[in-house]
Every structure is written in structure tokens, then in C-alpha cells.
Amino acid sequence: MFQKTLGVIAAAGAVAIMSVAANAGTLDDVKKKGMLSCGVSTGLPGFSLPDKTNKWSGLDVDVCRAVAAAVLGSAQKVKFTPLTAKERFTALQSGEIDILSRNTTWTHTRDTSLGLNFAGVTYYDGQGFMVSKKLGVKSVKELSGAAVCIQAGTTTELNLADYFRLHGLKYKSVVFDTSDQSIKGFESGRCDVLTSDQSQLYALRTKLAKPGNAIVLPEIISKEPLGPVVRQGDDQWFNIVKWTINALINAEEFGITSKNAASMKSSKNPGIQRLLGTKDDMGKKLGLSNDWAANAIMQVGNYSEIFERNVGKGTPLNIARGVNALWSQGGILYAPPIR
């Protein structure tokens, strides 16, 4: 009896998910509400965190603001819903949010089995290692026998085990529940090495009494492409989010910034004209106005501005562009052209 009931509930849930997945018209919904519902994390430095004026800020947050500017003409028309890792996908499936921008890794399983689509990559992350400077270690390969601080129940734990077994290295894991505890453990010397996503290592390093005493090793042992997610089955909305990101990256390539975007509209370069909506109907093809990309760039900035403002050199995180630089500058950011 009990199993039967469970079966019925599961079936109902599956039907619900499918009916949602088949639903279209997110753009109309967003326009009707006059507000973009955006799922973010409950607090991740550099990506989504309430700043000192109690407003959400970060790279993931700015992606949502850019989409809002493109769709609604105002980067302020965003309703942020903080989500835990467990509820993030259901919140999107159930329609509670229109876009999930919450440092979510694009993986095969998530893309194929959850009824969701990843609209692109806004930050290429990867698992890295942080060690104390006085250890004098230059590479992960020298870390055999080290005590490693990790967070429980994350893919980080599995990646670590795989990597060390593969290279025949021994290690002792010291498991913590939250990132805050693991950095405390690292600082008090309970472990020699702290491992996490690299962007987080930089954020955690700022929590040390003397951040300069710890270094992040260059090796990256996993691929963590982070990007916004939308519901499957609504191609128009999927395209809008995908091309908003592409527009931000293309804007950096063309040298269009939030400051010069208005004057760039009179540029002779047809690529810039198309992007800023003075030539051809690029916005119309997405179901938006032609100044969609211009709005996003003017109000939020191009990719470089977003990156530098939230995680770049001037911020406490102090992350170099690295792989997140444009393809023409040694990175792997390569946005298809807008034409």
C-alpha cells in the first residue's frame, strides 16, 4: 500500500515536471510581471552576496541584471531568490524562478536528466589547492602524505580521492561541514592543504589573518564551468539568456563598455552596429527590442567590467582573468558572432 502511494506521488511529480518542462512563454511571463525572478546562492563571495548596502551583488547576480536589462530595459527589475544547493533545480522546474544563476556546474547529467538547459558559461572554475607559503610546496605532486581540509558531501571530495589515487599520492582528509569551518581548520594548522573550487579558495583566503601567507597552487584537477540555467522546452527564453551572455562577451571584444556604449552607437564598425541595435534587427529576432544588448551593456557593463568589479584584481578575491580571458588574450572565452 505504502509503496503504491509512493509510486502515485512519484508519477504525479514526474507529470508535474514534464508539464512544466513543456511549458513555454517565459518571456511573456516576465514581461507581464515586469520582474525577472532570479535564483542565486545564499551567500557566495564574488558570485552572489548581499553587499554593504544590503543589495545582492556578484558575478552571478550581474548576469541576471544583464538579462533583466535586455528583456525589461532595467537592470533593477530583478527579484532575487536565495536558494540552497538542494532546492535550486526544483525552484527552476516549478517556475518559481525564471533563471538560475547560482554557481552551478554544467555537467552531462544535469543537462540531460533534469529538464533544464545550460545557457552558457559565465565563469570557468576548477578545483584547486591552497597551501601555506612556509611549506614551500610548488605543485600538488609534492603533497604526498599531507592532511587535506575538505567540505563534506561535495564533488570536491570525490575529485580529490580520484586525483590522489591516480597519481599514487597518500593523503589524510580532514572533513568539515562548511567552508567557514574548513578555513578555520586550515588556519589553526589542522591540515596543510585546503581544497575547493579555485574561486572559493581566493574568497576563503581573504578570511585568513594574513592572506599573503597562503598561496593557491596552479594545478586544477577538475572542470567546473559555471553558468546560468533555464527550463528546457522554451527555446526563445533559452536564446535570450544565451545571447545576452554572448553579447556581454562580444562587447568586451569590441571594446564597448558601460561608459562608451552610447557614443559607440555611431561607430562605423558593422559588428558594433549590429550589437548595439543601430543596424539590422538582432533584438527583434529574439523577441526583444533592438537596443537589448545596448541596455545590458550600459547598465551592467561588458564581461570584463562584470568580472573585474566582482572577482577581479581590485576586489578582495583578487582573481586573475586566466582561462576566463578572451580567446584573443590567451583565455577560452569565445562568443559566437552577432550577425
Binding site: G13, G43, N54, T81, T84, A91
Partner: protein, 365 residues
Amino acid sequence: MNDFQRSPDLPPPASTVGVVSWLRTNLFSSPANTILTLVGFYLVYSLLVPALDWAIFSASWVGENKDACDHKGACWVFIGQRLDFFIYGFYPKAEYWRINVIFVLLALLIIPQMMENAPHKVLLAWFFLIGFPIIAGTLLLGGVFGLPAVTTDKWGGLSLTLVIAFVGIVAALPIGILLALGRRSDMPVIRLLCVAFIELWRGVPLISVLFMASVMLPLFMPEGTNFDKLLRALIGITMFQSAYMAEVIRGGLQAIPRGQYEAAAALGLGYWKSMGLIILPQALKIVIPGIVNTFIALFKDTTLVLIIGLFDVLATVQAAIVDPDWPEVSTEGFIFTAFVFWVFCFTMSRYSIALERKLETGHKR
């Protein structure tokens, strides 16, 4: 006859009065006690002095940013700088006055309830239970009378904690009373329904109730009928707490001697009158400690809304301590949160003791 001149009494020996005597009888009465006393003093000294030094004397109190903290002691500057976030969450700054008005109104309504001879107490109590939630809800949400609307995703911090706790407490008590009466009812259908309700909600952890409300419920509802996440959480918490409340109150009902029920019937009182005038006033009085205990537990349980992404006071503190602008402030943040909770829970506990004393009519054993 010479007048007998009584010489004045000698003072008692110095060793039997005053501080010295108290010390001798209580702290140094035997070698073993002396050793224990000294060890105790040493422990208190070695713990208290660094704690006070950290929290008060070496602490940084004034400043604008992290540079004001030298980290020789606590960095209270952090709490001061982010205090508005901890209290108001994401609420727009220009509208803070609305929450302040509610805080003042809440205090004005609670103080007379704690005073012995305040006028119009009953009237005020009814206003507190019915009028106040309507006024507070209108002020918080806005959208009428020219107040800008503030959606619930902007609520947070201590004000959200209090909203959840207040709604839970005010709604759970009457529902709990009805459920407790229902469970002892002679009507089988009512009894069965109440038993089923209580056992279902009491048998499920609050975390899974919240998780169901936040994650599963929206999946079962047709697209577009998504109702507010806070409202879903409030309903879940109320259901959960009323089941607990029902069992506390049932304990009180069972403690009333059968004679009281029979006396009420002999007076010709119907069910509701006998319950309202005879049984419940006695039963509720007996279970005041249990009721307040449940309220205190509920108040602390509100922090669980963190897992469904609602920003209560603990969540705001946790988000603020990961801010790279403020290194090494997690201890201060958690101590602040603990202090806030302690103040509210201790107040509730003192109020309950005062209430018990006032209603004391010979049940003391």
C-alpha cells in the same frame, strides 16, 4: 541603690559575622572545600578574564570598516556596520520606518500585558491578537494607502524571524486548543481527524515539513499558481507547532479532575461554555510552562527556514561573515546571534514565570 548600669553588648566575635564568616562557613569550611574554592576561583579567573578582555576591554567598538578592527579583541564594528542588514534584511532603506513602527507598536502592546494593573488589558490583548497582525501585515507588505509595495523576498533579518515566530505563536495556540479538544471529543470522526492530524505533523521533522512546503508543493500545483514561499513556510510551521501545542494542552485537560467536568454539567453548562468557563482556564493555567516551552522551541526553530533560502537573522549573519570585506568576524557574528536569541527566549521565560505567579490559586505543590 545604685542604678544598675548595663554595659553595652559586646559585638559578636569577628569570625561569626560579615564577609569573613560567610566566607568561612561557605567557602573555606574544610580543607577539601578550601581546595575546591581555590580551584574554582582559578578556573573562573582564567576563563572570565580573557573572555571579558576579548569581548569588552580589547574589543573594537567604533569605526567604519575592517581597518577599525585590530583583532586583539572582538570586532563589534562589524556588527554595528551590518546591523541594519541583520534587523531589516533586504527591506528598502527608505521604508525602515515601517518596521520601526511595528517594533514600537509591539513593545507598546506587550508592556501593559506584563504590568499588574494596566487599564483595558483585555481589550488590548484582543487588539494584539487581531488588530496588530493586520496593521503589521499591511505596513510590511505595503501596496495600499500610498505605501510602496515590498514583496516578501525583500524581508529578512530579525524582522523576518519575529514575523515567523509571531505568526507561529499566535496561530498555533488556538488551533492547538481546538485540536486538543477534538482529540478528547466523544465524536469519533472528529477525534479520528484530530488524532490523524496531530500524529502526522508531530511525526515529521520540521526540516522535512519546510522542505516539502518549499520544494515539493510547487511541483504539485498547476503552473502559475505559485504562491508565496514565505506564506508556504508559515503555514507549514503553524501546522507543525499546533500539533505540538495540542499535545501540551491535552496534558492540561487530563490533569483536570473528573469532578470539574461533572460540576460544569451539573450547572447546566453546554459543551463550549463548560470548556470556556471551567475547564480550559484551569487547564491552560497548569500547562503555562509547557506552552511557553513550545514557544521558545518554536522561536529557535525559526532558524531552520535558512535551509529553504529565507533570510532570517541567522542567515543574514552567515551571509555577512563570508563577505571578504570583513575577515575573521564569524565568532562575533555567532555570538551576536546567540545573544539576540537569548534575549528573546529569556524574556519569554521570565514572562511565563510572572504569569504563573499571578495565576497561582493554590495549585502549588
